[in-house]
Symmetry: C2
Subunit: 471 residues, 2 copies
């Protein structure tokens, strides 16, 4: 028996045969590397691996409906899977069926002159970016791992990214969805419409619900004309206080950057070696601001950003405007998480959000929490949104270290709540944070969302135990 | 007995006394002009007047909770009231208590350097605009009647306005709410946070729910730096086809206007007399585009807009950049609805939305539907959002004409659904459109939202019969 695959599950004996009759044999997988890959997501590096009896690969919404109806009738749990890049265990199954949407990969329509497209859930985020740009348009949400992640997964977690600061998270760009809800019905909510108040906002209710209410099979996306140019300005500061002061000066300057990011001392120590421009030695903090627009506008705003970012900086801020250099810069920025992981081979990294006035405190407290648990702590993230990836370096094979790391992570959640923040800004709750939800949301919201869960999923078979605490 | 006031209601005898003990006598009103005013909203000009047993004026969330708890215990229906400017009858009571939020009028906090404020539900929309601007910031949602309407009402309907084209509707700017939900609990969802995926999105579920799920008592609003300058460009065309072609050219030009509006022939006939600039005679269609930014950017984009709007135009497009002239222009634009009403003393005006490619058809079909019912028909609205106010001129005192007007309005809803659109873009469903909801949303969404309604409001006392069809 391969690790993690349950061959003794309640339905396994007849499962493959029954599902194969519903769909076709090449859409069911009960053993082997493909199923094994479907038992984990981006938390695999923390050793989190689930178990399941089968991987099912429907090819369209009708087959998703057939599969869900069958699971619902048989009482089989369903874990929906996108690109498998999630960072909260939302796609890690706990028995039953993994329903992968990778074959729902059609671009149903693209209407550049109407600034919109309709894509199936399995379309890669990077494909959407490319298609939009080829038509002079921008799909702004830019979570990491865009070559692997899918729009369905982005919708399931309401994914963010650096440019969410100006442009908003995934949900801001979704005007409608098609979804399969128990016991197998197809729900269409919204559409290719930019405004719609005909009903309760079921679209936004499904967005960010992490596969607990239904299975989003396609989405209508809103686009905007792509800016012609971008300009990145990076300032380096001695410490988090001076760096956060610079963030305050930017916010107070009347500029609205497209992205406003930070990296703290520990993050810089891990990653500055490959910074694709000149950086001062021993910086304790970096602030990244990007602007976009015409070349003239980018020049003007980049100069204003430099002015706002000069006070307290170690050196004159670095400006990057060349297209290739900007691409290299963001590739470096995307790689920061991996660079931090490389220090000890593993990390426990959370995704909390705090009111902006508490960002400096949260950054310092992350380091202090790490120190109390004997682990190097660092953070980086989306400064303007108060969204930080508080991380602790660990050796994954050291159980005692992992235990301390998990205790430190729990303190990060407590800190975020104490500061008036939230336990997830963009990664979601998944299986990792469900225990902290009641403290974060309070009893009224917890009651309401548990009851809403039952409206959609009365048998509690959709991603059971994830996101929404049972009452 | 005054018109519309039920003195024989099931609880009226003891109502005032009991509520007065809960709150204070000056917070309860069971007779007189103040209650009479609370029986209608912006649909009063269509003769729509409700009935209620009392108007209750709580002063804070705690008193809203006390009032709702009392109503819930006694089985008394509750209709929540903001500024009373709604256009779908959402605030028109059908018995029970009108709960006005006008005394919840505090700005709880404003943090200009953090681009946010927290306001109670009764704060006027115009007050929020002014407060933001005084601090160099912009609260972009700009529904009509902003001096009278309140943020609570804007949230209840997820109100839009011209600048929703670029900036999004009210919900795009609300990061959190405080609300009272049955049986009187205070729900806090979100907060002063720009990102948050800790729970299901109860904030967006409440936004646009028109007082059917709970009573929003305050909101955290996101703001942005205010643009320094604006520029309006108006093009006049012979007919709706040439005008809609110009809209297509703007959309295809790579420009993202802040607002993109239209007025059709009948609307222009009613309103062009007071147009605060030079307009050609006998134009059949007008397109309005606004851009904002620095003076240089506004100059550049306004010139690009003029270029895109020249083909097919009757005269060279009119550009307005002077601050006072722009204020006068938008005051004229806001007055279009009243100018149309003035033609016959009344109008039946709906608020449908269609995919942008169907805008021209919807505009022409509005006129044709009017003709079939012997009524002048016209439309104007938010072209870029496909959101049109399809209107029929009527004499309110002529019952036969009103009947034909209502039949024509029903055909407008059917048209919007047939074109893949929706029966409300920004006004909401209220009492006027509930009969059309099932056709618009389909049976799955209707079932789900009816069940969600029961989760929040198991006794169905909150704005009963509005928005959400019973099953």
């Amino acid at each position: 028996m391969e690790r993690g695959i349950t061959t003794q599950g309640p339905v396994n004996g007849k499962l493959a045969g029954e599902l194969a009759r519903l769909l076709s044999p090449d859409q069911i997988c009960t053993i082997g590397p493909e199923l094994r890959d479907a038992l984990q997501d981006g938390t695999g590096n923390r050793g989190i691996i689930g178990h399941a009896e089968a991987l099912v690969l429907p090819a369209d919404a009708g087959e998703v409906s057939l599969t869900l109806a069958w699971c619902y009738e048989k009482g089989v749990p369903v874990t929906v899977r996108g690109g498998g890049t999630g960072l909260a265990g939302g796609a890690v199954p706990d028995g039953g069926v993994v329903l992968s949407l990778e074959r729902l990969d059609r671009v149903r329509s693209i209407d550049p002159e109407l600034w919109r497209m309709e894509v199936e859930a399995g379309v890669r985020t990077a494909t959407i970016h490319r298609l939009a740009l080829e038509n002079g348009l921008l799909f702004p949400p830019d979570p990491g791992a865009s070559e692997q992640s899918t729009i369905g997964g982005n919708i399931a977690t309401n994914a963010g990214g650096p440019h969410a600061f100006r442009y908003g998270v995934t949900g801001s760009w979704v005007t409608g969805i098609e979804a399969v809800v128990p016991p197998g019905e197809i729900l269409v909510s919204g559409g290719p419409l930019r405004k719609n108040v005909a009903g309760l906002d079921l679209t936004d209710l499904m967005i960010g619900s992490e596969g607990t209410l239904g299975i989003v099979t396609s989405a209508w996306l809103r686009l905007v004309p792509a800016p012609a140019e971008r300009g990145v300005v990076v300032g380096f500061y001695p410490d988090s206080n001076s760096g956060c002061d610079a963030i305050g000066l930017i916010m107070g300057s009347g500029i609205e950057p497209a992205a406003l990011e930070f990296l703290d001392r520990g993050t810089l120590e891990s990653s500055i070696g490959s910074f694709p421009a000149t950086a001062p030695n021993a910086a304790g903090f970096a602030v990244i601001a990007e602007t976009d627009g015409t070349a003239t506008e980018v020049d003007r705003v980049a100069a204003e950003l430099e002015e706002a970012m000069t006070e307290g900086a170690l050196t004159a801020p670095v400006r990057i405007t060349d297209h290739v250099a900007i691409r290299d810069f963001w590739a470096w920025r995307d790689g920061v998480s991996i660079a931090v992981t490389a220090q000890r081979g593993g990390k426990i990294s959370e995704d909390v959000v705090v009111p902006l006035e508490s960002l400096a405190e949260a950054i310092e407290e992350t380091v202090a929490i790490g120190e109390r648990h004997g682990l190097p702590g660092c953070s980086w993230g989306h400064a303007g949104d108060g969204n930080l990836h508080s991380s602790f370096l660990v050796d994954l094979s050291d159980e005692e270290q992992m235990s301390r790391g998990n205790e430190a992570a729990a303190e990060i959640f407590e800190m975020a709540i104490r500061l008036g923040g939230s336990i997830s800004g963009e990664h979601g709750i998944g299986s990792l944070k469900t225990a902290h939800v009641e403290e974060a949301l309070g009893p009224v919201a917890v009651r309401l969302q548990a009851e809403i869960k039952r409206v959609f999923d009365p048998k509690l078979l959709l991603n059971p135990g994830k996101k929404i605490p049972r009452r």
